[in-house]
């Protein structure tokens, strides 16, 4: 019986592997041939001719090489579809702002019709690799989690839409009330996500209040610390892609960033405490609180590290560039990593506060006789 069972599962597994590979492959092929959907002209490279190579040295003695290349191929969409072109391109060994194009790749180009049809390269078409990765993630979610995978994907989709709506509202307000808009969004995010994860129940309400209270308290503590230290060492001017007032935007970023981790943790703690209280209704409020602290203490460390790595890793390229441009370690840190560090610390505070508040609320409001 056991052997039959394992034979059956292994057969299933092979079918699943084939399914995953097929799905990823098909998605990629579709995205590789969707040129007609774009209004920008796309150019497929069929032959590459390498040109001159020259050595260059900057004022900090960094050595790099500059390569010329000529790309031959044809336009694949729009009114000039089928036209053959030769485009010149140049790239460096470091590829910081340029690309080394290869045979077979598709590129976005800018067409010039005067004096005759010629073009310059804008960027690589990179929707196929993105689609491939998504297909892989989605199929793995389905294979390993079955129907639970659907809820996970649904919650991501709903949250992405909400996020986009909030950005629309923010833009139409000229970024005036960023913190307000994203606080409201945070409340809606939590409500929707927790509803999807836990369903409508008292447990969910306890979790929701813990999450909201912890997040609000975190922002309060942050603003107090900022006021007391006069924001010394916080370089808002180093924030990237800022199109509006940086400080409220930074607070909003941290607020949204920490929300997922806080929900993650509060769900864990409240769910475990509810099970505990159901099994042993004689436990006092204080005992429930203490067990919550025990659970929280073991998950808070790893959870803080999740956000720490997300916030810090993305500062790597710019920090490296600063170091290579002859800046000191301290200056490179301040201008690139200090905001990531600040976000990580604030998130940490939120995560620890969640342990306290979700244990407290669970202790106070969850009764043993509920299911």
């Amino acid at each position: 019986m056991g052997e039959m069972n394992s034979k059956l599962t292994s057969k299933m597994t092979w079918l699943q592997v084939i399914g995953v590979v097929l799905f990823c492959f098909l998605t990629t092929v579709v995205f590789m041939h969707n040129d007609a959907l774009y209004t920008q002209p796309i150019f497929q490279v069929s032959r590459v001719q390498a040109g001159k190579k020259s050595k260059m040295t900057d004022e900090f003695q960094n050595v790099d090489h500059y390569h010329q290349q000529t790309l031959y191929g044809e336009i694949t969409n729009g009114r000039y579809a089928g036209k053959h072109l030769a485009i010149n391109n140049a790239y460096s060994d470091s590829h910081a702002m340029d690309h080394h194009y290869l045979k077979g790749q598709k590129l976005f180009i800018t067409l010039h019709t005067k004096p005759h049809l010629h073009a310059t390269v804008k960027d690589l078409k990179r929707d196929a690799p993105i689609a491939f990765l998504f297909a892989l993630a989605i199929s793995l979610l389905f294979v390993i989690l079955k129907w639970k995978g659907v809820t996970v994907i649904a919650s991501i989709l709903v949250n992405t839409m909400l996020f986009w709506i909030a950005i629309m509202i923010d833009h139409n307000n000229d970024g005036a009330a960023v913190i307000m808009i994203f606080s409201v969004l945070a409340v809606i995010f939590c409500f929707v996500t927790l509803l999807l994860v836990m369903g409508w129940s008292k447990k969910m309400l306890v979790t929701l209040s813990a999450v909201l209270a912890a997040t609000a308290l975190t922002i309060l503590i942050t603003l107090t610390v900022f006021a007391l230290t006069h924001e010394k060492g916080i370089y808002y001017e180093s924030m990237q892609y800022v199109t509006q007032l940086p400080k409220p935007l930074f607070i909003a970023e941290v607020l949204i960033g920490v929300l997922g981790a806080v929900m993650d943790e509060a769900t864990d703690i409240v769910a475990s405490l509810a099970t505990l209280k159901a099994e042993r209704p004689e436990l006092s409020k204080m005992q429930v609180f203490t067990s919550g602290r025990q659970i929280g203490k073991s998950i808070m460390g790893p959870l803080i590290n999740v956000l720490f790595f997300i916030f810090m890793a993305e500062t790597l390229p710019m920090t490296l560039l600063y170091l290579k441009n002859g800046n000191s370690w301290q200056y490179s840190f301040s201008m690139n990593m200090s905001l990531g560090m600040t976000s990580s610390l604030i998130s940490g505070i939120g995560i620890v506060l969640t342990v306290i508040l979700s244990s407290l609320f669970a202790g106070l409001w969850i009764k043993g006789d509920e299911r």
Binding site: S94, A137, I144, S155, N159, T229
Partner: protein, 255 residues
């Protein structure tokens, strides 16, 4: 006192309040992780091969995050082995994807910040993008592996004679419970850190096609989806590791 120091002190105080000695260890693990991360960047700046530096640093970072958590010995060893296997798998996904999508370096949106900086520094930024994607997934892998290994360890301790198949079913069950919320941690982290970028896109009327093909957006999206794949893979791999250990333990002392 700087704001970062003050926030650090608040965090340390809260962690000690909640976790006592474990709180200090958790705080230290973050500080040491930062040290290792910064040191790796300095090594890369000295032209050591970026991917090798990152892989070595990643193993150290994983071991610190996992062994300094309060999980039991059995759970931490399993979690560490599983996360190393996942690290290898993720690298096998990340390297081809990054070369395929060529998201290394900086985009047009960075132009203002790059003013006055020399960008021809002789370090291949595609490899730096690979390093970034690997590093940003570490926390998520470690957390998921610890959660599943601890849960399974609980079951194994109470249930010495559990079979491999039953344990696998339990692993998937625990995995299902943690995955929904773990995905949220990742995606909100992503939304938060990309908020300014999204506002930029919306403000400058980028079309959906432009956003998907944008270098910076693609780089961040790849990092987060790869972490998600890592978290999903944690479920079967941690469970397999645990059942191997269990089999070895059961073989060593029959009853």
């Amino acid at each position: 006192m700087g704001a970062i120091t003050a926030l650090g002190i608040v965090l340390l105080a809260l962690m000690v309040l909640v976790g006592g000695k474990q709180g200090i260890t958790s705080f230290l693990s973050m500080v040491v992780n930062f040290g290792i991360l910064f040191f790796s960047i300095v090594l890369i700046a000295f032209h050591l091969p970026p991917i090798i530096v990152t892989v070595v640093a990643s193993v150290v970072l994983l071991s610190i995050t996992i062994f300094w958590s309060s999980a039991s010995d059995n759970a931490s060893i399993t979690a560490f082995q599983a996360s190393c296997v996942i690290l290898v798998l993720l690298i096998a996904i990340i390297i081809p994807i990054e070369y395929w999508a060529q998201v290394g370096g900086f985009g047009l949106e960075d132009s203002e910040e790059l003013e006055g900086l020399s960008i021809y520094v002789g370090i291949d930024f595609t490899k730096i993008a690979i390093a970034t994607a690997i590093l940003s997934s570490l926390g998520a892998i470690a957390e998921a592996a610890i959660a599943i290994a601890s849960g399974l360890d609980e079951i194994v301790t109470q249930h010495r004679q559990i079979t491999g198949d039953a344990l696998f079913a339990d692993g998937v069950f625990i995995g299902k419970q943690i995955i929904g919320t773990a995905v949220n941690t990742l995606f909100f982290g992503f939304f938060g850190s990309a908020l300014a970028l999204f506002i930029w896109f919306y403000g400058l009327n980028y079309s959906l096609g432009e956003i998907i093909n944008d270098k910076i957006f693609a780089a961040e999206l790849i990092a987060i989806v790869v972490s998600l794949i890592g978290v999903v893979l944690t479920i079967p791999i941690t469970t397999w590791m645990m059942s191997f250990r269990l089999k070895r333990l059961q073989a060593k002392k029959p009853k």
